[in-house]
């Protein structure tokens, strides 16, 4: 029995110790910030099936190293902490709690992926931690009423889907649309935007929808079905690997629809070239960034600046990977936001400033596309422009489209 008594005693001692500890913790007001440093947190998939995105987290780190080498922001160095979440929501929750509770970062940014961010959405808002420029194209990050601490970054997938739908309604009489999409949140989001954009006509115009799983080796079967459906418009919602296959296969079997390729796979170097430039001629997409493998930008100031950065600070990163360009833009935006905060780096001011960005230009955004936010608008980039592949480059056409100016 003596063991049991000791057990109870230990419990009591533990309880007292905890009460004593709880009082001491609440003193600090500005979390993650000292006179010489600001601590910021991020999660990325460095391992696991989505590790291709891991380069974003590394490129972000490389940019902050550059910032620190140049003396930091307002005299503060950036202490960038990034953890591997393997693109798995439970792991993201764990790592984000580590960042918030243990490392005590000032804010979170660029946490990657829709399911991982969904898992921490409520938590970060309860904890009142700024959760900004998340790396996903879902729509729900722009909801400042219910989630005032969360903010998106890139144009969302639904908006892009709507842009294509509007084009079809306006320019293609007798459209018969076939859709290929990835069976997950990303694919479904594009699909929803497109269907919403077509409105009542959706039922009539869409003749066939085909899905695939990321684990599928090929999508040949789906393409064959789409051709057979008689579709003359093809909305291609696939990641690069399958986009190449889709372009190649539809060309091989002699299916020549009006082909909308989602922005996710618009890379010239990793998608269009492998699929064949001739086969890619006539593709349509909506862009908001300069496509770094597109020859039309090879003398562009922003592009050259990025190349110089990559060579000096991230030499192991690939120069044909759009993700590295994406990260460069975001990192600059983060640095801009911190700078705009001045000396008040409280979490309240960080989210306030992030929601007060006016016409910020980033080196690798298309000319005319700017970052704008407000307390009621947590979607930084909302503009895109249509482009057609002319066999050599993405030829931009029409005006810059604004999602909110319907």
């Amino acid at each position: 029995m003596s063991l049991f008594t000791r057990f109870i005693a230990l419990l009591l001692v533990g309880g007292l110790a905890a009460l004593a500890g709880a009082g001491a913790a609440a003193a600090q007001t500005v979390v993650g910030v000292t006179a010489t440093e600001i601590k910021i947190g991020n999660t990325n998939p460095y391992s696991g099936p989505a590790s291709a995105y891991g380069t974003i987290g590394k490129a972000l780190g490389a940019y902050f190293k550059k910032v620190n080498d140049e003396g930091g922001i307002n005299g503060r160095k950036i202490n960038y902490i990034t953890y591997d979440d393997q693109y798995s929501p439970p792991k993201t929750v764990e790592m984000v709690r580590r960042l918030v509770e243990q490392d005590q970062v000032a804010f979170l940014f660029q946490t990657l992926g829709t399911p991982p961010n969904s898992a921490i959405h409520k938590y970060v808002n309860q904890q009142k931690v700024p959760h900004i420029f998340v790396a996903t194209g879902a729509t729900k990050w722009n909801d400042p009423k219910s989630f005032p601490w969360t903010m998106g970054y890139q144009p969302n997938y639904q908006t892009e889907g709507r842009i294509y739908a509007a084009y079809v309604l306006k320019n293609v009489p007798n459209a018969k649309v076939g859709i290929l999409y990835q069976n997950d949140d990303y694919g479904k989001d594009y699909l929803k935007g497109f269907e919403d954009g077509l409105g009542d006509a959706a039922k009539k115009l869409i003749v066939l929808k085909q899905s695939y799983e990321v684990t599928d080796p090929t999508i040949d079967s789906q393409i064959v079905n789409l051709k057979n459906s008689g579709a003359n418009v093809f909305f291609n919602v696939t990641i690069p690997k399958f986009a190449v296959q889709a372009i190649k296969k539809s060309n091989d079997i002699g299916w020549k629809p009006l082909h909308f390729l989602n922005n996710v796979s618009s890379s010239l170097g990793t998608v269009l070239k492998p699929a064949g430039l001739e086969a890619s001629r006539g593709l349509l997409t909506a862009l908001y960034m300069k496509e770094i493998t597109d020859p039309q930008w090879k003398n562009d100031k922003g592009f050259l600046e990025w190349v110089a950065f990559m060579k000096k600070y991230y030499p192991e990163g690939a120069l044909d990977d759009q993700a590295n360009a994406y990260a460069y833009n975001v990192a600059i935006l983060v640095a801009h936001t911190i700078k705009q905060c001045g000396n008040d780096l409280s979490r309240e001011n960080i989210i306030k400033q992030a929601a007060n960005l006016k016409n910020v230009e980033l080196p690798l955004l298309l000319p005319g596309i700017k970052v704008n936010t407000s307390p009621t608008d947590h979607a930084p980039i909302e503009q895109e422009q249509l482009a057609k592949f002319d066999g050599e480059k993405w030829a931009l056409f029409g005006e810059v489209l604004d999602a909110f100016r319907k």
């Binding site: 099936p49 085909q210 090929t218």
Partner: protein, 293 residues
């Protein structure tokens, strides 16, 4: 009718992909009684080696031969260095070691070559072959041909050579084989080497279709498991037939059973595997083992 034939043709093409890796899985299972989870990723890594050689300007068929040899030696070395220390341990221990290899190969490939997909050339013409309205990819036909050649070699090797016989014996009954003077441990190494070589061939045939990236074999290995299961893990012929069967069934189900559509086609393919197993617990071509009490 055209659509039916076209779906069967494209099912055969993807089935050929499954079959080629399934062959390597069956090979190693026959030779060592172990399922190697790293098989696909070893194949992926071999393909990267081939890619490096091609980048260096080595002609295709020289690269092909060199890669097969490198893969063979690599597989042998892995068995000697990594697997050997756990040779006598329970099967599951070895399985976990192969899982360790799987993540190491993925990670190292990503580290060296980055995760961006790379195009990989095919030795066959890129122009598709058309018969009426039906289109064949020349590469698909060529890849199926190579898979069948490998199958034939495997069959001849296990059936007619003393070495093949010794290998089978070593896997099935190591103790008796040792008594007969077979160097069991080396036979296992040889098995790994051969499986890795077949894997390399599979990788080089798969890469032109799905493009080369460190996760290239992930999905394919799952289907290769399915193919080997349907066909029977003890039969190379079964693995190839299983591969084609899985590829074609999946396509036809996705096309013709409308309430399933493409969203559940994987599920249906898997359900069929389980049904096949229930009717023939060792796969279509597998041998049922009888155990003595």
């Amino acid at each position: 009718m055209d659509i039916f034939i076209q779906q069967v043709v494209s099912g055969l093409a993807t089935g050929g992909i499954y079959a080629s890796l399934a062959l390597a899985l069956v090979m190693i299972y026959q030779a060592t009684d172990v399922v190697n989870f790293a098989q696909g990723n070893m194949a992926m890594f071999s393909t990267y080696i081939a890619w490096s050689l091609l980048q260096a300007g080595v002609p295709y068929w020289v690269t092909f031969g060199a890669t097969v040899v490198i893969a063979f030696v690599g597989g042998l070395l892995i068995e000697r260095v990594v697997i050997r220390p756990v040779e006598g341990a329970p099967i599951l221990t070895i399985v976990i070691v192969t899982l360790g290899l799987l993540v190491i190969f993925t990670s190292v490939a990503g580290w060296i070559y980055s995760y961006i997909q790379k195009p990989f050339p095919s030795p066959f013409p890129s122009r598709p072959i058309k018969i009426g309205n039906i289109v064949f990819g020349a590469h698909d036909l060529g890849a199926i041909g190579i898979t069948l050649v490998v199958l034939l070699l495997l069959f001849l090797f296990f059936r007619y050579t003393t070495l093949g016989l010794a290998m089978r014996a070593a896997a099935q009954n190591p103790v008796s084989s040792r008594l007969c003077g077979i160097r069991v441990s080396w036979m296992l190494g040889l098995g790994w080497g051969l499986a890795a070589a077949f894997g390399a061939v599979a990788g080089m045939m798969v890469a032109p279709v799905v493009f080369l990236d460190p996760n290239m074999m992930g999905g394919i290995q799952i289907y290769a498991f399915a193919a080997a299961t349907v066909g029977g893990f003890t039969s190379p012929l079964g693995a190839v037939v299983g591969g084609f069967l899985v590829g074609v069934t999946e396509n036809l189900v996705g096309t013709y059973v409308s309430f399933i559509g493409t969203e559940l086609k994987l599920t249906v393919a898997l359900a069929m595997i389980i049904i096949v197993l229930l009717v023939r617990p060792s796969g279509l071509f597998g041998r049922t083992t009888v155990r003595r009490v």
